[in-house]
């Protein structure tokens, strides 16, 4: 295993490599390719933090926990609420900010404020040819040249190794409240959630869980100044009903649970993550049930994000799930599965041929020798 401590050392290492490299931050996302492990944790440290400009720049290997702490001291946070995969995947380790960026990891608030990629202002990286490249910067608005920052977000270490990330951060609001309604079926709940998202009440979380202690649970979150939060929670309760309204730490705990998909953590089965249109969520699950695939469901992003827990046998329902998702628009990623399942089905949703061709072309330019996490997201152009 290699653990370079500077960007230059990393560049030397990549330039000198002649075999595949498995790029790893904290190794907590369960998604490293094959090859000699290169860890980014040597590239750590907060390089700049300006609370008044809502900007933070950190080495890619900086633990997320360290970033949370330093932001927390100034009453700020990462707005996109990155998921922690450790419980769900049963993995130990320290998630890094580089991993969050490379895998474009977001959470429930994504539907209100955008994904990790929307908060990434700039990056530095080493490409597969060992070139040091920067893109974007540390300012909020930047359209100077192509946006390689977005391209790198979610590229899972296949185009280059991130060495530094600059981020837009957010002030932690004064208050939060969550409206809970139990016992609704999925169709009715999703209809409510999409209605909530169509109100001016600035909803920051909209989810439905099929099974919380034997009952379904619909959750809607609002955050902001105290008076405003109370007002909007009341309006939404009038409109859509609520059995219980919780606030503060109690509310936060509910969303941490959703963010990390902890209800699936100690239950067996493969786990799929599906991105689709909210109105497709219930029909999609119904169609799967009709094909004999019974899933335990958590719907987030008002239905736009589905977590499906299915038996970890065969391809874990993968071909049927992908076919349905493609029919409805969206994509399905295999998040948790045993090795036998993984051998049968790709982790990422195959893209249409013209897009695969562009992706392969980009990989060929960024990593001409095909040594960075080879095969993780798709084949290189040969």
């Amino acid at each position: 295993m290699a653990r370079p401590e500077t960007e230059a050392a990393l560049a030397d290492l990549i330039r000198g490599a002649n075999a595949p490299l498995a790029i790893r931050g904290g190794g907590t996302r369960g998604l490293t390719g094959a090859g000699e492990v290169v860890e980014t944790t040597g590239l750590h440290g907060i390089r700049l933090y300006e609370p008044g400009a809502l900007t933070l720049v950190a080495g890619a290997g900086t633990p997320l926990a360290e970033i949370d702490t330093i932001l927390g001291e100034k009453g700020q946070r990462l707005a996109f609420e990155p998921m922690d995969h450790r419980a769900l995947l049963g993995i130990e380790g320290e998630p890094t900010i580089g991993g969050v960026a490379a895998a474009n990891i977001s959470g429930p608030r994504r539907l209100q404020v955008g994904a990790a990629r929307d908060h990434m202002l700039g990056i530095r990286m080493v490409t597969g040819s060992g070139e040091v490249v920067k893109n974007g910067g540390r300012v909020m608005k930047n359209v100077t040249g192509y946006d390689l920052v977005k391209l790198m977000a979610g590229s899972h270490g296949t185009l280059g190794v991130l060495t530094e990330v600059s981020l837009k951060v957010q002030a932690i609001p004064e208050a939060e409240r969550t409206l809970i309604l139990r016992g609704q079926d999925m169709g009715a709940a999703i209809t409510d959630l999409t209605r909530a998202m169509g109100t001016p009440f600035d909803v920051s979380g909209a989810a439905w869980l099929a099974d919380v202690n034997g009952q379904s649970e619909r959750r809607i979150r609002v955050e902001g100044m105290a008076g405003s939060t109370a007002y909007r929670a009341e309006k939404l309760a009038d409109l859509l009903g609520a059995d219980t309204v919780v606030e503060g730490a109690e509310s936060a705990a509910l969303w941490r649970e959703l963010r990390d998909v902890t209800p699936f953590a100690d239950k067996a089965g493969a786990v799929w993550k599906v991105s689709t249109r909210p109105t497709s969520a219930a029909p999609l699950v119904d169609a799967l049930t009709a094909q004999g695939i019974t899933a335990d469901v958590i719907a987030d992003w008002s239905g736009g994000l589905l977590w499906l827990r299915v038996p970890d046998t065969g391809d874990a329902g993968g071909s049927a799930i992908r076919a349905e998702v493609t029919r409805h628009a969206g994509h399905a990623t295999l998040i948790r599965a045993n090795d036998a399942t993984r051998a049968k089905i790709a982790t990422f949703h195959p893209q249409p041929a013209p897009l695969e061709k562009i992706a392969a072309g980009l990989r060929q330019k960024f990593d001409p020798r095909g040594i960075l996490n080879p095969g993780l997201m798709g084949p290189a152009l040969s």
């Binding site: 359209v143 169509g198 001016p200 100044m225 109105t279």
Partner: protein, 476 residues
Amino acid sequence: MQMPQPDPGALSQKEALAAALRKVLPADAVISDPAETRAYECDALTAYRCPPMLAVLPATTDEVSDVLRLCHQFGVPVVPRGSGTSLAGGALPTADCVILGVARMNAVLERNYDDRFIRVQTGITNLRVTGEVEADGFFYAPDPSSQLACAIAGNIAMNSGGAHCLKYGVTTNNLLGVTMVMMDGEVIEVGGPYLDAGGLDLLGLICGSEGQLGVVTEATLRILPKPEGARPVLMGFDSNEVAGACVRDIIEAGVLPVAIEFMDRPCIEATEAFAGAGYPDCEALLIVEVEGSPAEIDEQLSVITAIAQRHNPVEIRESRSADESARIWLGRKSAFGAMGQINDYICLDGTIPISELPEVLKRMGELSDQYGLKVANVFHAGDGNLHPLILFDANKDGDLETCEAMGAEILKLCVDVGGCLSGEHGVGVEKRDLMTHQYDPSDLELQMAVKDVFDPKWLLNPAKVFPLATSETRRG
């Protein structure tokens, strides 16, 4: 500013290409008469003009595909065009190019309030998108000041922003999917009415690529429910520095206004003379707008005005009615018009870390003395996106050149303090030759490698974004 020599090979094929294009497009969609192609000779960077060889106005994605396939076959460069409001010369033709205008492609294809998106052809104007969903309580958030005229096509190509992007983000944060035609005529679909890309984030790459990767013909845009209401507060200060500190404190306090606009004295004076909005006589003023129900607005404004009070404001004027709100916005909205009345100007677009604001404004004043040209500032302060307006006289020999030289100094200053050359207008031809000040050769090489993948022959808008010397070997 230099443009490449027109390619004689391309020019010699004018008639043959026009004839081939007339076979795939309606007769009135192919423009070859020099008297008519002149209509496309420039965009809003009017200092530079060059009529194209031909202009075409396709009405469908298929027609765009036919046009590009033919141009690809003929080896003729193509410059895509929306409404031609680019301030960076993004839509400036070369003499050997075909202008591909999407103005006829302005249909609304789908509206869906449950999934919160609208799908449109990209020739539709920005304001019409909001117009299409407004009656149902929704809006499209990115709101460039040019929104009455500019097209979604140009917004996507430039990743345009607006006054309200402090809260809602710029185009890239509100774009869900596109239909795009590649230079060889192949039609691709990227993204769709769902969140986040499957595979690599090609959508994020396409947005802001200034018409160099493909021609975007359709777009899926995120729409949002309209807030219950909005109200601004106007605050005047004794110095730019104090106003800058006030912006920082507001942001740090955690209130998130939808807009924080900043005007300096030269700008205040010009707009007062022009629009008479009744602004206070002061060095700098801020207009801060918040949204919500009346009580929510009061709650936010009370925090904001309390912060402002700590900075000894010359005046605080909280709007109490729609009429007062309109008066507060009047001067800001007429700022560009006011400047245009008194002078010719160029409008810059650098971004800086807001902590550097006082220093940058001070340096700008020094540059103004040094070059002998006035600068007025009106900009989006919340996100550090400056719009210095340098005033000059187009009829005076050499004034434009002096003005451009001074503009370049200001943009370099933005980069040197940790910012960038362009916050929302794009690079185009205007900032093309400054790119080496912000980027190292390896940075530019990788960006150009991206274009190699999408457009190997470099036929799409080839003379933009990258310094000509840097892109020379690729342009063939």
